[in-house]
Amino acid sequence: MTRTTVLRWVGVHAIGVAAALFFLLPFVFVLLTSLMSDQQALTRDLTPNTWEWGNYAKVFDTPGFLTWWKNSLLYAGLGTLLTVVSSIPVAYALAKFRFRGRRLSLMLVVSMMMLPPQVVIIPMYLFWVKQLDLGGTLWPLIIPMAFGDAFSIFLLRQFLLTIPDEYLDSARVDGCGEFRALIKVVLPMAKPGIAAVALFQFFYCWNDYFGPQIYASENPGAWTLSYGLESFKGAHHTDWNLTMAATVLVMAPVIVLFFFAQKAFVEGVTLTGVKG
């Protein structure tokens, strides 16, 4: 190694460490504060004097916290399942069928993907709550996912495009119908894409704040973690230690999930941009 390459190595890694600190320190402070006493959390101390692991028990003891967990899992789990099942055939058709209006359909999918949910919230709210009496529940958020999600369709289609048509043709030659070809040939090959879509959708539901705020705010029994967390802060005004403990508990599942499925996730993100 020459001198300059050594210097460059040091320089690059020093910047890397600095950047890593910027990304990591907020987590560290949140974690440390979550272990302080309520008095100390209001001071400028950075590390806890006494390690109050009981804060986490207190958060779990908050009335409703477990219900919020359950609701988040229901919303994210069921929502993801429905999205994946309903989006695969649509994505397949858009990727592999030749038909009139394909380009238009694709444009509409992209438009739906870019549509802020607030644009149609008034009629949707009146529809779900006044016509169907589903206010105070999460169903107005879950049911639409049985009808395909634009982002998931788009992402899956991008992935399916990478599967060569020859595989499909050979399945068709074997006498498979399109549906069987999809199940037998495409699905096994599309696993990484499906995993990425499932993860994105799970995260979307888990993180959703606007949806539960509109449809479930009056019924604490239907709150999700993301929505409940805010009111938790409201009820524990300056008990930053408890609020930070709750924050950790909302972040944790997502981060754990990420470590299990890191590869699928990063591939998915890449797919959104690079194939353009």
């Binding site: 989006s87 909302v250 981060i255 353009g276």
Partner: protein
């Protein structure tokens, strides 16, 4: 083959296509086309959730554009966020993407660390940042003050609330980093080698080799960034609720935008008009403004050469 079987085949294939598309066709009609037209309808009606909607002419429109005191601040904030937040995010994302391609030791660890904040649920991340940046005892201001720097009020100061939100957005840069990283690795090595032979320094290599190669991705990042800014809702509303201390319960009513309308965005106006004031008509007017802006950006995205829709049509 007779024409008869050909036609039958064609019909069968059309049916098949329709069957595969059916979930989305229903979804498109019920959750996009119908509510969109309904939004247009309501924007001309007076409706507060009781009784039946009544015709209101263009009164809602002139109220929103002429008298609703939150409308123009929200548009101004959106413009600010587009100019500053999107630029910062793209610049940082590119920078971190470049950095990660240069890091040779512990790449995996660095990549994971850089990526992690992107995953933090927005409500949780916002709460964390309001705490970190709180003017009284937050660690950031403690550090600044010990360095003798006059610390700003961040989420409690109108001039600093958007920069604080920008910091939060830059923290969650993981998605852009991955996209840029993949694009950077796709740049043909030969071009760099050729540039090096020509005696180009590292800035020139970046300027004349890297940038032209990744420019479509930069454009993609900018346009999607702008669209995300149109939808920007959770972070500003949670930050302003938490920083103002008015979260709910009791008799206090929270009005979005704290401090002093500096964090207002268009989606929050839909919430304020529709679900706080129950003026559904005016809420629909704002929704349509939002729709127009978002669709203009989307059109831009689809127009670009080999754009999203053209992908894979090779």
């Amino acid at each position: 083959m007779t024409t008869y079987t050909l036609r039958a085949k064609r019909r069968r294939s059309a049916l098949r296509t329709a069957a595969f598309l059916s979930p989305w066709l229903v979804g498109f009609g019920v959750f996009f086309a119908y509510p969109l037209l309904s939004t247009v309808y309501f924007s001309f009606m007076k409706y507060d959730g009781f009784g039946a909607p009544t015709w209101n002419g263009t009164a809602n429109w002139s109220y929103v554009f002429g008298s609703y005191t939150m409308f123009w601040p929200a548009l101004r904030n959106t413009l600010w966020l587009v100019l500053v937040m999107v630029t910062c995010r793209v610049a940082f994302g590119l920078g971190i993407g470049l950095l990660i391609t240069k890091i040779k030791t512990g790449t995996g660890v660095f990549r994971t660390l850089f990526y992690l904040p992107y995953l933090a649920p927005p409500v949780a991340a916002t709460l964390a940042f309001v705490f970190l940046l709180n003017p009284g005892t937050g660690p950031v201001n403690s550090a600044l003050e010990s360095l003798g720097i006059a610390a700003p009020g961040w989420f409690n100061e109108p001039g600093w609330s958007k920069p604080a939100l920008t910091m939060l957005a830059v923290w969650g840069i993981g998605d852009l980093m991955v996209i840029f990283m993949a694009a950077l690795l796709d740049v043909p090595k030969e071009q760099y080698e050729a540039a090096e032979l020509d005696g180009a320094n590292s800035w020139q290599r970046f300027r004349f080799v890297t940038l032209p190669n990744i420019s479509p991705i930069v454009l993609f990042a900018v346009v999607t960034g702008v669209i995300q800014t149109m939808q920007y809702y959770t972070q500003p509303i949670v930050a302003s609720k938490v920083a103002s201390g008015i979260i709910g319960g009791s008799g206090q009513q929270f009005e979005p935008g704290y401090p002093e309308k500096s964090t207002l965005t268009l989606p929050q106006l839909v919430y304020n008009l529709g679900f706080q004031r129950f003026d559904y008509g005016s809420a629909c007017v704002v929704a349509l403004v939002l729709f127009t802006l978002a669709m203009a950006c989307t059109a831009l995205l689809m127009r670009r050469r080999g754009g999203l829709v053209g992908a894979g049509e090779r």
